[in-house]
Protein backbone atom coordinates (compact mmCIF):
# COMPACT_ATOMS: atom_id res chain seq x y z
CA UNK A 1 0.00 0.00 0.00
CA UNK A 2 1.18 3.47 -0.71
CA UNK A 3 2.94 5.33 2.05
CA UNK A 4 1.00 8.26 3.37
CA UNK A 5 -0.27 9.81 6.52
CA UNK A 6 -3.99 10.24 6.40
CA UNK A 7 -4.21 12.92 9.01
CA UNK A 8 -1.11 14.57 7.64
CA UNK A 9 -0.46 16.67 10.70
CA UNK A 10 1.18 14.32 13.12
CA UNK A 11 4.15 12.98 11.26
CA UNK A 12 6.01 13.79 8.14
CA UNK A 13 7.96 10.98 6.56
CA UNK A 14 10.35 12.28 3.92
CA UNK A 15 11.42 8.76 2.91
CA UNK A 16 8.07 8.26 1.21
CA UNK A 17 8.95 10.97 -1.28
CA UNK A 18 12.18 9.35 -2.34
CA UNK A 19 11.25 5.83 -3.22
CA UNK A 20 12.54 4.38 0.03
CA UNK A 21 9.74 1.96 0.73
CA UNK A 22 11.11 0.26 3.82
CA UNK A 23 8.35 1.86 5.84
CA UNK A 24 5.11 0.29 4.71
CA UNK A 25 2.48 2.43 6.39
CA UNK A 26 1.80 5.55 8.39
CA UNK A 27 2.90 5.29 11.98
CA UNK A 28 2.01 7.50 14.88
CA UNK A 29 3.54 8.87 18.01
CA UNK A 30 1.61 9.77 21.13
CA UNK A 31 3.71 12.93 21.34
CA UNK A 32 4.10 16.04 19.27
CA UNK A 33 6.07 19.20 19.91
CA UNK A 34 3.85 22.23 19.49
CA UNK A 35 6.66 24.69 20.23
CA UNK A 36 6.26 27.99 22.01
CA UNK A 37 8.33 29.88 24.54
CA UNK A 38 7.40 30.65 28.13
CA UNK A 39 9.29 32.73 30.65
CA UNK A 40 8.95 34.37 34.06
CA UNK A 41 10.78 37.02 36.05
CA UNK A 42 10.37 37.62 39.78
CA UNK A 43 11.01 40.92 41.50
CA UNK A 44 10.93 41.90 45.16
CA UNK A 45 7.17 42.54 45.12
CA UNK A 46 6.00 41.43 41.68
CA UNK A 47 6.25 38.55 39.27
CA UNK A 48 5.74 38.46 35.51
CA UNK A 49 4.87 35.35 33.56
CA UNK A 50 4.90 35.58 29.78
CA UNK A 51 4.43 33.35 26.75
CA UNK A 52 3.98 33.66 23.02
CA UNK A 53 0.68 32.58 21.47
CA UNK A 54 1.81 30.48 18.53
CA UNK A 55 0.93 26.79 18.32
CA UNK A 56 2.74 24.83 15.62
CA UNK A 57 3.28 21.32 14.42
CA UNK A 58 6.25 20.72 12.16
CA UNK A 59 6.39 23.59 9.70
CA UNK A 60 2.67 24.44 10.04
CA UNK A 61 1.12 26.95 12.38
CA UNK A 62 -2.12 25.57 13.78
CA UNK A 63 -3.25 28.75 15.51
CA UNK A 64 -1.86 32.17 16.32
CA UNK A 65 -3.99 32.69 19.40
CA UNK A 66 -3.21 29.92 21.85
CA UNK A 67 -2.72 31.22 25.41
CA UNK A 68 -0.07 29.26 27.26
CA UNK A 69 -0.32 31.07 30.61
CA UNK A 70 -3.13 30.14 33.01
CA UNK A 71 -4.21 31.56 36.36
CA UNK A 72 -4.28 28.52 38.60
CA UNK A 73 -5.10 30.49 41.75
CA UNK A 74 -5.10 34.20 42.64
CA UNK A 75 -1.44 33.81 43.68
CA UNK A 76 -0.26 31.33 41.05
CA UNK A 77 0.38 31.50 37.32
CA UNK A 78 1.46 28.53 35.25
CA UNK A 79 2.85 28.49 31.72
CA UNK A 80 3.63 25.41 29.62
CA UNK A 81 5.40 24.73 26.35
CA UNK A 82 5.83 21.33 24.70
CA UNK A 83 2.94 19.04 23.72
CA UNK A 84 -0.24 21.08 24.10
CA UNK A 85 -2.64 18.16 24.71
CA UNK A 86 -0.51 17.04 27.67
CA UNK A 87 -0.19 20.61 28.93
CA UNK A 88 -3.95 21.19 28.67
CA UNK A 89 -4.70 17.93 30.49
CA UNK A 90 -2.18 18.71 33.19
CA UNK A 91 -3.66 22.16 33.76
CA UNK A 92 -7.19 20.78 33.85
CA UNK A 93 -6.15 18.27 36.50
CA UNK A 94 -4.28 20.84 38.58
CA UNK A 95 -7.11 23.36 38.38
CA UNK A 96 -9.42 20.72 39.79
CA UNK A 97 -6.97 20.11 42.61
CA UNK A 98 -6.74 23.86 43.29
CA UNK A 99 -10.53 24.00 43.60
CA UNK A 100 -10.51 21.07 46.00
CA UNK A 101 -7.83 22.82 48.05
CA UNK A 102 -10.01 25.92 48.19
CA UNK A 103 -13.04 23.89 49.37
CA UNK A 104 -11.01 22.04 52.01
CA UNK A 105 -9.11 25.02 53.39
CA UNK A 106 -11.30 27.98 52.55
CA UNK A 107 -8.35 29.81 51.01
CA UNK A 108 -6.71 29.63 47.62
CA UNK A 109 -3.60 27.50 47.20
CA UNK A 110 -0.31 29.38 47.47
CA UNK A 111 2.31 29.24 44.77
CA UNK A 112 4.86 27.30 46.86
CA UNK A 113 2.36 24.53 47.64
CA UNK A 114 1.21 24.54 44.04
CA UNK A 115 4.79 24.19 42.84
CA UNK A 116 5.27 21.04 44.91
CA UNK A 117 1.95 19.64 43.69
CA UNK A 118 2.97 20.14 40.07
CA UNK A 119 6.26 18.35 40.71
CA UNK A 120 4.46 15.37 42.27
CA UNK A 121 1.91 15.28 39.47
CA UNK A 122 4.63 15.24 36.82
CA UNK A 123 6.59 12.53 38.62
CA UNK A 124 3.49 10.34 38.92
CA UNK A 125 3.76 9.99 35.18
CA UNK A 126 7.48 9.23 35.27
CA UNK A 127 7.20 6.35 32.79
CA UNK A 128 4.70 7.93 30.40
CA UNK A 129 5.55 11.58 30.99
CA UNK A 130 3.51 14.64 30.30
CA UNK A 131 5.62 16.19 27.56
CA UNK A 132 5.22 19.69 28.98
CA UNK A 133 7.85 22.17 30.06
CA UNK A 134 6.45 24.28 32.80
CA UNK A 135 7.10 27.45 34.70
CA UNK A 136 5.16 28.43 37.80
CA UNK A 137 5.18 32.06 38.86
CA UNK A 138 3.54 33.65 41.85
CA UNK A 139 3.84 35.68 45.01
CA UNK A 140 4.90 33.67 48.06
CA UNK A 141 3.55 34.02 51.62
CA UNK A 142 5.75 37.10 52.19
CA UNK A 143 4.53 38.71 48.97
CA UNK A 144 7.88 38.18 47.24
CA UNK A 145 8.01 37.15 43.61
CA UNK A 146 8.75 33.47 43.05
CA UNK A 147 9.52 31.49 39.91
CA UNK A 148 9.66 27.70 39.79
CA UNK A 149 11.14 25.95 36.80
CA UNK A 150 10.60 22.27 35.87
CA UNK A 151 11.65 19.48 33.61
CA UNK A 152 9.08 17.09 32.10
CA UNK A 153 9.30 14.55 34.91
CA UNK A 154 9.04 16.89 37.87
CA UNK A 155 12.52 18.01 38.91
CA UNK A 156 12.12 21.60 39.95
CA UNK A 157 13.87 24.53 41.50
CA UNK A 158 12.88 27.94 42.83
CA UNK A 159 14.64 30.70 40.94
CA UNK A 160 14.10 34.36 40.18
CA UNK A 161 13.83 34.05 36.44
CA UNK A 162 13.49 31.25 33.97
CA UNK A 163 12.66 30.44 30.39
CA UNK A 164 11.43 27.22 28.80
CA UNK A 165 10.36 25.95 25.43
CA UNK A 166 11.60 26.40 21.88
CA UNK A 167 13.18 29.83 22.49
CA UNK A 168 14.91 28.83 25.70
CA UNK A 169 18.39 28.64 24.19
CA UNK A 170 18.00 32.13 22.76
CA UNK A 171 16.58 33.87 25.83
CA UNK A 172 18.20 32.21 28.82
CA UNK A 173 21.72 33.64 28.29
CA UNK A 174 20.24 37.14 28.02
CA UNK A 175 18.41 36.68 31.30
CA UNK A 176 21.60 35.35 32.93
CA UNK A 177 23.43 38.41 31.70
CA UNK A 178 20.79 40.91 32.75
CA UNK A 179 19.30 39.43 35.91
CA UNK A 180 21.86 37.23 37.65
CA UNK A 181 22.20 38.49 41.24
CA UNK A 182 23.64 37.44 44.55
CA UNK A 183 23.71 33.71 45.30
CA UNK A 184 21.01 32.69 47.78
CA UNK A 185 23.80 30.90 49.75
CA UNK A 186 25.68 34.09 50.67
CA UNK A 187 25.67 35.05 54.36
CA UNK A 188 24.43 37.36 55.71
CA UNK A 189 21.47 36.79 53.41
CA UNK A 190 21.00 39.24 50.59
CA UNK A 191 17.86 39.37 48.52
CA UNK A 192 18.41 37.53 45.26
CA UNK A 193 15.33 39.03 43.57
CA UNK A 194 15.97 40.81 40.30
CA UNK A 195 16.90 44.46 40.85
CA UNK A 196 14.73 45.66 37.96
CA UNK A 197 11.55 47.62 38.47
CA UNK A 198 8.32 46.16 37.14
CA UNK A 199 8.40 48.42 34.04
CA UNK A 200 12.02 47.55 33.29
CA UNK A 201 11.28 43.85 33.61
CA UNK A 202 8.31 44.16 31.24
CA UNK A 203 10.54 45.88 28.69
CA UNK A 204 13.19 43.19 29.03
CA UNK A 205 10.65 40.41 28.51
CA UNK A 206 9.18 42.10 25.44
CA UNK A 207 12.67 42.49 23.98
CA UNK A 208 13.44 38.85 24.69
CA UNK A 209 10.37 37.65 22.82
CA UNK A 210 10.89 40.02 19.91
CA UNK A 211 14.45 38.68 19.58
CA UNK A 212 13.52 35.02 19.95
CA UNK A 213 10.79 35.52 17.34
CA UNK A 214 13.42 36.65 14.83
CA UNK A 215 15.35 33.39 14.98
CA UNK A 216 12.98 30.70 16.29
CA UNK A 217 10.22 29.63 13.89
CA UNK A 218 8.14 28.24 16.77
CA UNK A 219 7.95 31.59 18.58
CA UNK A 220 5.87 34.46 17.26
CA UNK A 221 2.44 36.00 16.61
CA UNK A 222 2.02 37.71 19.99
CA UNK A 223 3.39 37.71 23.50
CA UNK A 224 1.10 37.80 26.52
CA UNK A 225 2.48 39.10 29.81
CA UNK A 226 0.69 38.37 33.05
CA UNK A 227 1.91 40.79 35.70
CA UNK A 228 1.15 39.90 39.32
CA UNK A 229 1.67 42.29 42.21
CA UNK A 230 -0.11 43.25 45.42
CA UNK A 231 -2.95 44.81 43.42
CA UNK A 232 -3.72 41.60 41.54
CA UNK A 233 -3.06 40.25 38.06
CA UNK A 234 -3.10 42.29 34.90
CA UNK A 235 -2.47 41.19 31.34
CA UNK A 236 -0.52 42.93 28.59
CA UNK A 237 -0.25 41.83 24.99
CA UNK A 238 2.33 42.79 22.39
CA UNK A 239 2.19 41.66 18.77
CA UNK A 240 5.20 39.76 17.40
CA UNK A 241 6.15 38.97 13.84
CA UNK A 242 3.86 36.41 12.23
CA UNK A 243 6.41 34.93 9.81
Amino acid sequence: METYDAVGENNFNPSSYHGNHTKQHATWSPYDNNGGTVMAVAGEDYVICAADTRMSTGYSIMTRQYTKVDEMSPKTLMASAGFMADAATLKKLLKGRCDQYQFANNKPIGCVAFAQMLSNTLYMRRFFPYYAFNIVAGLDAEGKGAVFTYDAVGSYERTNYSCQGSGQQLIMPVLDNQLKTVSPLVLPAVSSATPLSEEEAIDLIKDCFATAGERDIYTGDAVELFVMNKDGIRKETMPLKTD
Partner: protein, 288 residues
Protein backbone atom coordinates in the same frame (compact mmCIF):
# COMPACT_ATOMS: atom_id res chain seq x y z
CA UNK B 1 -33.85 6.94 34.84
CA UNK B 2 -32.82 4.01 32.68
CA UNK B 3 -29.05 4.07 32.35
CA UNK B 4 -28.11 5.03 28.84
CA UNK B 5 -25.99 2.76 26.70
CA UNK B 6 -22.38 3.82 26.81
CA UNK B 7 -19.99 2.68 24.13
CA UNK B 8 -17.35 4.77 25.74
CA UNK B 9 -17.30 3.38 29.25
CA UNK B 10 -14.31 4.60 31.17
CA UNK B 11 -13.88 1.27 32.94
CA UNK B 12 -13.81 -0.63 29.68
CA UNK B 13 -10.65 -0.18 27.76
CA UNK B 14 -10.35 -2.54 24.83
CA UNK B 15 -9.32 -6.07 25.92
CA UNK B 16 -10.07 -5.92 29.64
CA UNK B 17 -10.68 -9.09 31.63
CA UNK B 18 -14.37 -9.90 31.15
CA UNK B 19 -16.79 -10.66 33.94
CA UNK B 20 -16.74 -14.37 34.83
CA UNK B 21 -13.10 -15.02 34.00
CA UNK B 22 -12.14 -14.75 37.66
CA UNK B 23 -15.18 -15.41 39.89
CA UNK B 24 -13.31 -14.74 43.14
CA UNK B 25 -12.30 -11.31 41.96
CA UNK B 26 -15.78 -10.64 40.61
CA UNK B 27 -17.15 -11.39 44.07
CA UNK B 28 -14.67 -9.05 45.65
CA UNK B 29 -15.40 -6.17 43.32
CA UNK B 30 -19.14 -6.78 43.52
CA UNK B 31 -19.13 -5.74 47.17
CA UNK B 32 -17.15 -2.69 46.28
CA UNK B 33 -19.32 -1.87 43.29
CA UNK B 34 -22.61 -2.39 45.11
CA UNK B 35 -21.73 0.69 47.07
CA UNK B 36 -21.51 2.63 43.85
CA UNK B 37 -24.03 0.86 41.70
CA UNK B 38 -25.79 3.99 40.62
CA UNK B 39 -22.73 5.25 38.83
CA UNK B 40 -23.31 3.86 35.34
CA UNK B 41 -19.77 3.00 34.32
CA UNK B 42 -18.79 1.49 37.66
CA UNK B 43 -21.94 -0.30 38.76
CA UNK B 44 -24.51 -2.44 37.01
CA UNK B 45 -23.74 -1.44 33.47
CA UNK B 46 -20.04 -2.18 33.68
CA UNK B 47 -18.72 -5.06 31.68
CA UNK B 48 -15.37 -6.02 33.16
CA UNK B 49 -12.48 -5.31 35.45
CA UNK B 50 -11.21 -1.80 35.01
CA UNK B 51 -7.57 -1.06 34.22
CA UNK B 52 -6.75 -4.68 33.37
CA UNK B 53 -5.56 -6.57 30.35
CA UNK B 54 -7.11 -9.88 29.34
CA UNK B 55 -4.17 -12.33 29.00
CA UNK B 56 -6.07 -14.23 26.28
CA UNK B 57 -6.42 -11.11 24.20
CA UNK B 58 -3.39 -9.04 25.13
CA UNK B 59 -3.37 -5.32 24.71
CA UNK B 60 -6.00 -4.72 22.09
CA UNK B 61 -5.70 -1.87 19.69
CA UNK B 62 -7.78 -0.91 16.72
CA UNK B 63 -6.50 1.52 14.09
CA UNK B 64 -2.71 1.51 14.04
CA UNK B 65 -2.72 2.37 10.38
CA UNK B 66 -5.59 3.96 8.46
CA UNK B 67 -7.32 2.21 5.58
CA UNK B 68 -10.36 4.12 4.37
CA UNK B 69 -9.75 7.81 4.73
CA UNK B 70 -11.25 11.19 4.03
CA UNK B 71 -9.08 14.21 3.26
CA UNK B 72 -9.34 17.90 4.19
CA UNK B 73 -12.20 19.61 5.99
CA UNK B 74 -12.33 23.41 5.72
CA UNK B 75 -14.35 25.80 7.86
CA UNK B 76 -14.64 29.54 8.42
CA UNK B 77 -16.55 31.71 10.84
CA UNK B 78 -18.49 34.67 9.51
CA UNK B 79 -20.52 37.35 11.19
CA UNK B 80 -23.64 35.30 11.92
CA UNK B 81 -22.44 31.73 11.85
CA UNK B 82 -19.99 29.14 10.60
CA UNK B 83 -19.59 27.48 7.21
CA UNK B 84 -17.86 24.14 6.82
CA UNK B 85 -17.06 22.29 3.61
CA UNK B 86 -15.56 18.98 2.57
CA UNK B 87 -15.81 16.54 -0.29
CA UNK B 88 -17.79 13.28 -0.21
CA UNK B 89 -14.94 10.91 -0.92
CA UNK B 90 -13.51 8.11 1.21
CA UNK B 91 -10.30 6.72 -0.28
CA UNK B 92 -8.85 3.24 0.11
CA UNK B 93 -5.20 4.18 -0.08
CA UNK B 94 -5.05 6.04 -3.36
CA UNK B 95 -8.19 4.37 -4.74
CA UNK B 96 -11.22 6.61 -4.87
CA UNK B 97 -13.32 3.94 -3.18
CA UNK B 98 -16.53 5.45 -1.76
CA UNK B 99 -17.70 8.54 -3.57
CA UNK B 100 -20.87 9.50 -1.73
CA UNK B 101 -19.88 9.52 1.90
CA UNK B 102 -21.18 12.40 3.95
CA UNK B 103 -18.19 13.50 6.01
CA UNK B 104 -20.05 15.96 8.21
CA UNK B 105 -22.47 15.13 10.97
CA UNK B 106 -25.09 17.25 12.58
CA UNK B 107 -25.01 16.81 16.37
CA UNK B 108 -28.09 18.20 18.04
CA UNK B 109 -29.33 21.47 16.66
CA UNK B 110 -26.32 23.72 16.89
CA UNK B 111 -23.23 21.67 16.05
CA UNK B 112 -21.69 20.13 12.96
CA UNK B 113 -18.68 17.81 13.22
CA UNK B 114 -16.55 17.07 10.15
CA UNK B 115 -13.72 14.57 9.93
CA UNK B 116 -10.44 13.85 8.19
CA UNK B 117 -8.91 10.38 8.44
CA UNK B 118 -10.26 6.91 9.09
CA UNK B 119 -13.91 6.39 8.17
CA UNK B 120 -14.55 3.54 10.60
CA UNK B 121 -13.11 5.46 13.52
CA UNK B 122 -15.40 8.36 12.73
CA UNK B 123 -18.30 5.92 12.60
CA UNK B 124 -17.47 5.02 16.20
CA UNK B 125 -17.26 8.69 17.12
CA UNK B 126 -20.69 9.17 15.53
CA UNK B 127 -22.05 6.46 17.83
CA UNK B 128 -20.64 8.30 20.83
CA UNK B 129 -22.15 11.57 19.65
CA UNK B 130 -25.52 9.93 19.02
CA UNK B 131 -25.56 8.55 22.55
CA UNK B 132 -24.61 11.94 23.91
CA UNK B 133 -27.33 13.55 21.85
CA UNK B 134 -29.87 10.95 22.99
CA UNK B 135 -29.29 11.63 26.70
CA UNK B 136 -29.47 15.32 25.98
CA UNK B 137 -32.75 14.89 24.11
CA UNK B 138 -34.22 12.75 26.90
CA UNK B 139 -33.45 15.37 29.50
CA UNK B 140 -35.77 17.66 27.54
CA UNK B 141 -34.66 20.71 29.47
CA UNK B 142 -34.39 23.22 26.62
CA UNK B 143 -30.69 23.29 27.36
CA UNK B 144 -28.91 21.45 24.58
CA UNK B 145 -25.16 20.93 24.61
CA UNK B 146 -23.22 23.82 23.18
CA UNK B 147 -20.64 23.21 20.44
CA UNK B 148 -17.92 24.08 22.94
CA UNK B 149 -19.08 21.25 25.22
CA UNK B 150 -19.08 18.80 22.34
CA UNK B 151 -15.62 20.03 21.36
CA UNK B 152 -14.31 19.52 24.88
CA UNK B 153 -15.89 16.06 25.01
CA UNK B 154 -14.22 15.06 21.73
CA UNK B 155 -10.86 16.40 22.92
CA UNK B 156 -11.10 14.10 25.92
CA UNK B 157 -12.16 11.11 23.80
CA UNK B 158 -9.26 11.58 21.37
CA UNK B 159 -6.71 12.15 24.15
CA UNK B 160 -8.00 9.20 26.15
CA UNK B 161 -7.55 6.88 23.20
CA UNK B 162 -4.03 8.11 22.50
CA UNK B 163 -3.24 7.38 26.15
CA UNK B 164 -4.26 3.78 25.48
CA UNK B 165 -1.99 3.73 22.43
CA UNK B 166 -5.15 2.96 20.49
CA UNK B 167 -5.81 6.22 18.69
CA UNK B 168 -8.84 7.23 16.71
CA UNK B 169 -7.19 8.11 13.39
CA UNK B 170 -9.04 11.35 12.75
CA UNK B 171 -8.81 15.10 12.85
CA UNK B 172 -12.17 16.56 13.76
CA UNK B 173 -13.55 20.00 13.01
CA UNK B 174 -16.30 21.17 15.32
CA UNK B 175 -18.40 24.11 14.20
CA UNK B 176 -21.53 25.51 15.73
CA UNK B 177 -23.51 28.30 17.19
CA UNK B 178 -22.88 29.00 20.87
CA UNK B 179 -26.36 30.04 21.95
CA UNK B 180 -25.11 30.94 25.44
CA UNK B 181 -22.42 33.37 24.35
CA UNK B 182 -24.38 34.27 21.20
CA UNK B 183 -21.49 33.80 18.84
CA UNK B 184 -20.17 31.26 16.37
CA UNK B 185 -17.79 28.52 17.55
CA UNK B 186 -15.12 26.80 15.52
CA UNK B 187 -12.55 24.31 16.81
CA UNK B 188 -10.33 21.46 15.71
CA UNK B 189 -9.08 18.30 17.45
CA UNK B 190 -6.25 16.09 16.23
CA UNK B 191 -5.63 12.37 16.51
CA UNK B 192 -3.51 12.63 19.68
CA UNK B 193 -5.70 15.20 21.38
CA UNK B 194 -4.07 18.42 20.21
CA UNK B 195 -6.78 21.04 19.88
CA UNK B 196 -7.40 24.69 19.17
CA UNK B 197 -10.15 27.17 18.41
CA UNK B 198 -9.70 29.74 15.68
CA UNK B 199 -11.61 31.91 13.21
CA UNK B 200 -10.87 29.49 10.40
CA UNK B 201 -9.56 25.94 10.43
CA UNK B 202 -8.51 23.31 7.92
CA UNK B 203 -7.38 19.74 8.54
CA UNK B 204 -5.06 17.48 6.57
CA UNK B 205 -3.75 18.81 3.29
CA UNK B 206 -6.08 21.80 3.68
CA UNK B 207 -3.80 23.06 6.41
CA UNK B 208 -1.19 23.67 3.71
CA UNK B 209 -3.46 24.64 0.83
CA UNK B 210 -6.47 26.44 2.28
CA UNK B 211 -5.18 28.00 5.49
CA UNK B 212 -2.91 30.51 3.69
CA UNK B 213 -5.90 31.66 1.64
CA UNK B 214 -8.00 32.05 4.76
CA UNK B 215 -5.23 34.00 6.48
CA UNK B 216 -5.03 36.34 3.53
CA UNK B 217 -8.73 37.00 3.00
CA UNK B 218 -10.64 36.22 6.18
CA UNK B 219 -12.27 39.18 7.91
CA UNK B 220 -14.15 39.38 11.17
CA UNK B 221 -17.31 40.90 9.69
CA UNK B 222 -17.67 38.70 6.62
CA UNK B 223 -21.12 38.10 5.21
CA UNK B 224 -22.35 34.61 4.40
CA UNK B 225 -21.81 35.23 0.68
CA UNK B 226 -18.24 36.38 1.20
CA UNK B 227 -17.48 33.44 3.43
CA UNK B 228 -18.96 31.02 0.92
CA UNK B 229 -16.90 32.56 -1.86
CA UNK B 230 -13.72 32.23 0.21
CA UNK B 231 -14.51 28.65 1.09
CA UNK B 232 -15.18 27.75 -2.53
CA UNK B 233 -11.95 29.32 -3.73
CA UNK B 234 -10.15 27.24 -1.09
CA UNK B 235 -11.99 24.12 -2.25
CA UNK B 236 -10.84 24.88 -5.77
CA UNK B 237 -7.17 24.95 -4.75
CA UNK B 238 -7.64 21.79 -2.74
CA UNK B 239 -9.34 19.82 -5.48
CA UNK B 240 -6.75 20.86 -8.05
CA UNK B 241 -3.74 20.01 -5.91
CA UNK B 242 -4.85 17.25 -3.53
CA UNK B 243 -5.17 13.93 -5.36
CA UNK B 244 -7.33 12.54 -2.55
CA UNK B 245 -9.96 15.19 -3.07
CA UNK B 246 -12.89 14.90 -5.42
CA UNK B 247 -15.03 17.57 -7.10
CA UNK B 248 -18.17 16.71 -5.16
CA UNK B 249 -18.62 18.78 -2.06
CA UNK B 250 -21.04 19.47 0.72
CA UNK B 251 -21.34 22.70 2.62
CA UNK B 252 -22.78 23.03 6.09
CA UNK B 253 -24.12 26.18 7.63
CA UNK B 254 -24.91 26.92 11.24
CA UNK B 255 -26.44 30.15 12.50
CA UNK B 256 -28.42 31.37 15.48
CA UNK B 257 -31.63 30.52 13.62
CA UNK B 258 -31.61 26.91 14.67
CA UNK B 259 -30.92 23.61 13.02
CA UNK B 260 -27.70 23.49 11.07
CA UNK B 261 -28.03 22.54 7.43
CA UNK B 262 -25.83 20.29 5.35
CA UNK B 263 -26.26 21.02 1.65
CA UNK B 264 -26.83 18.61 -1.21
CA UNK B 265 -23.59 17.66 -2.99
CA UNK B 266 -22.40 20.18 -5.57
CA UNK B 267 -19.42 20.61 -7.88
CA UNK B 268 -17.32 23.71 -8.49
CA UNK B 269 -15.97 24.97 -11.80
CA UNK B 270 -12.46 23.76 -12.41
CA UNK B 271 -10.12 24.61 -15.26
CA UNK B 272 -7.35 22.30 -16.29
CA UNK B 273 -6.25 24.12 -19.47
CA UNK B 274 -3.37 25.95 -17.80
CA UNK B 275 -0.18 26.00 -19.82
CA UNK B 276 1.73 24.36 -16.99
CA UNK B 277 -0.65 21.43 -17.04
CA UNK B 278 -0.51 21.08 -20.84
CA UNK B 279 3.28 21.11 -20.93
CA UNK B 280 4.50 20.53 -17.38
CA UNK B 281 8.19 20.55 -18.26
CA UNK B 282 8.20 23.76 -20.28
CA UNK B 283 9.33 26.00 -17.42
CA UNK B 284 11.35 23.34 -15.63
CA UNK B 285 14.86 23.45 -17.06
CA UNK B 286 16.62 20.13 -16.81
CA UNK B 287 13.40 18.12 -16.92
CA UNK B 288 12.44 16.06 -19.96
Amino acid sequence: MIPSRTSHSSSIGPGVVPRGADPAYDEEVKREYDLRKNIPHLGKGSKGRPFSIDPNVGVMTRTQTPYVTGTSVLAVKYKDGVLMACDTLACYGSTKRYKSIQRMKLVGKYTVVGFTGELSDFDYISTLLDELEMTDFCQDDECPRTPKEIYNYLVRVMYNRRNKFDPLWNSLVISGWDYVEKKPFLGCVGMIGQHYVDDHVATGFGNHLARPLFRESWKEEMTEQEAEKLLKSALLSCVMRDKQMMNKFQLSKITADGPGEISEPFAIDTRWGYENYVNPTKYAPGAW
